[in-house]
Subunit: 321 residues, 2 copies
């Protein structure tokens, strides 16, 4: 069974790559940035390539379906490069093609703040997609980069789904109809995403699971709800797992350079620190427990395979070029 | 009488500085950027300082009221440094203080596009001020930088006026109630601006004057309308004059690097090029004709002085520190 994690924001080293391999993962989309500009994003990519090179017996970077298949055939894990923001572009429409050349395959339109392309789920109001956002969506489509709406505002998200010629993704969020949270996605948005062929990757990140991440069995209820909503072909997993992420990384994610005051993202003043991963997923070694839980609730092997990674593989092969 | 132009986006050389002096101007706020990032904005400032240095017999850069008074006493024109966007900050809240140290005194929150701080008048929808925008407004207040709302969206503009502890400006726009145009400002916004002690600089830029820039007399009707609306103490002049601006500069202003398609700003497909300045203001030598026109319609010398520059001087002395 092909296992894929649609969004993993760990800081990778040999130990974490080994955990990923032990967990049976065949493909992982990584997050190399949150607020970094073009040069900082290139530096992060360069450094990531070094770490991958040092561990080439375990992992390799993939740019398309053929790469993924080759890497999986060699019993390694395929890594897809993504950023959780569009700051890497420095506002330059021509940088989309250049970052695509460098191997970037997933970009989130906005992270926690509004930007020149659209609104974020954490802002008090959402403008919807901007004029620059409309042009960016076309360019991302043309360059084979998957658009991620996970932290994007509701109105902007719906606009992007409509504007995009290619299917888009929510790589790591849960249905707001099941777990109400500003970071989760409305049933309407998930339906619109699915109608255009997209995939939502459900997250195990406890702050947006409201207790449902406690066991694989409880977490599988999130899957069941979402499959009921949009069918088996549009649901995947995007753990938002964050191995090696320290408080200083969290502060960077939450405040970047735009703010001097404390922001909590999906945390809160009462739990400002890094929340523990679920007991069964302290490392990616536990990933396969999700497949067991899905089959225990009656899913067929084929259905389980779609959720565990098949849907991501289909979407990636459709969007990457 | 103290003459000030609250916004002038000419490219300055000795000839243009001489025109400014001949026109009796004592103070001009210049535009050193539209889409430039931090380093590009610093480069533009460094180059501008060179040009000012080469013409130190005519002009000097002012940072506060004392500087302005000294420069005027030496019969030169005081230059206030501004940018028409916040891209110079590279999204970094700490850069506000650093650019203030470098002498920047006027920043427009957004140019023609939405950004991380708020909405623009040219976007299909305006989110209002963002969380980063609220923090930026406080920091601009603290650092003595005047906030300019000229190209900012209506909702964001109202939010900024409310959020700002210091008076703010519309440096170059006209009342939408008199000349309907997306770039012009609603009566409501102009009233709110004035109630907080701000100033609107009325523009002679023909694309947002609907014929009223044809003669100084016709243009003075714009002044009369605005004075009727908010009183004599909140109206100034911000010509938006653009000597030496070529089609390539216009394209940069309109498209920056965010778009590959033609955008027209306040122009249109039917008049895509640079519109001619009014016959009476082909150079800044004609600036004093406005004072004559205001007095011809019955304004006192004191009232005329407020419009011609006194209100800018009061606002600058209040905000710059």
């Amino acid at each position: 069974m092909f296992f894929a994690d649609g969004l993993n924001c760990s800081i990778f080293d040999r130990e974490v790559f080994q955990e990923v391999i032990d967990g049976g993962l065949n493909c992982i989309t990584v997050s190399l940035g949150f607020w970094e500009d073009a040069l900082e994003s290139m530096d992060a990519l360069g450094r990531f390539r070094d770490v991958v090179q040092e561990n080439e017996d375990l992992v390799a970077i993939a740019h398309n379906e053929e790469d993924i298949n080759k890497i999986v055939a060699s019993e390694r894990c395929a890594l897809i490069v993504g950023y959780q923001n569009t700051t890497a572009l420095n506002g330059n429409i021509r940088f989309v093609e250049l970052f695509a050349d460098m191997g970037v395959r997933v970009l989130q339109l906005t992270y926690n703040n509004q930007n020149e392309y659209g609104g974020s789920c954490y802002e008090p109001a959402d403008s919807g997609i901007s004029r620059a956002g409309v042009e960016l969506v076309s360019e991302l489509n043309r360059c084979g980069i998957l658009i991620d709406l996970s932290h994007v505002g509701q109105r902007t998200g719906l606009d992007v789904i409509e504007a995009s010629e290619m299917p888009v993704a929510v790589t790591h969020a849960n249905p707001d109809g099941f777990v109400p949270h500003v970071r989760n996605k409305s049933d309407d948005l998930i339906r619109a995403l699915a109608e255009k062929g997209g995939v939502i990757g459900l997250a195990t990140y406890p702050n947006i699971c409201d207790g449902f991440a406690e066991t694989p069995e409880k977490w599988s209820e999130l899957v069941a709800y979402t499959v009921d909503l949009v069918g088996i072909n549009h649901v995947g997993i995007g753990t938002d797992h964050s191995r090696n992420i320290k408080m200083s990384h969290l502060e960077w994610m939450r405040q970047g350079r735009w703010s001097r005051v404390t922001n909590y993202g999906a945390g809160s003043a009462s739990r400002p620190g890094k929340i523990a991963e679920p007991d069964w997923l302290t490392t990616m070694r536990g990933f396969g427990l999700i497949a067991d839980a899905l089959q225990s609730r009656g899913m067929t092997e084929e259905e389980t395979a779609s959720i565990m990674g098949g849907n991501w593989l289909r979407l990636y092969s459709q969007v990457f070029n």
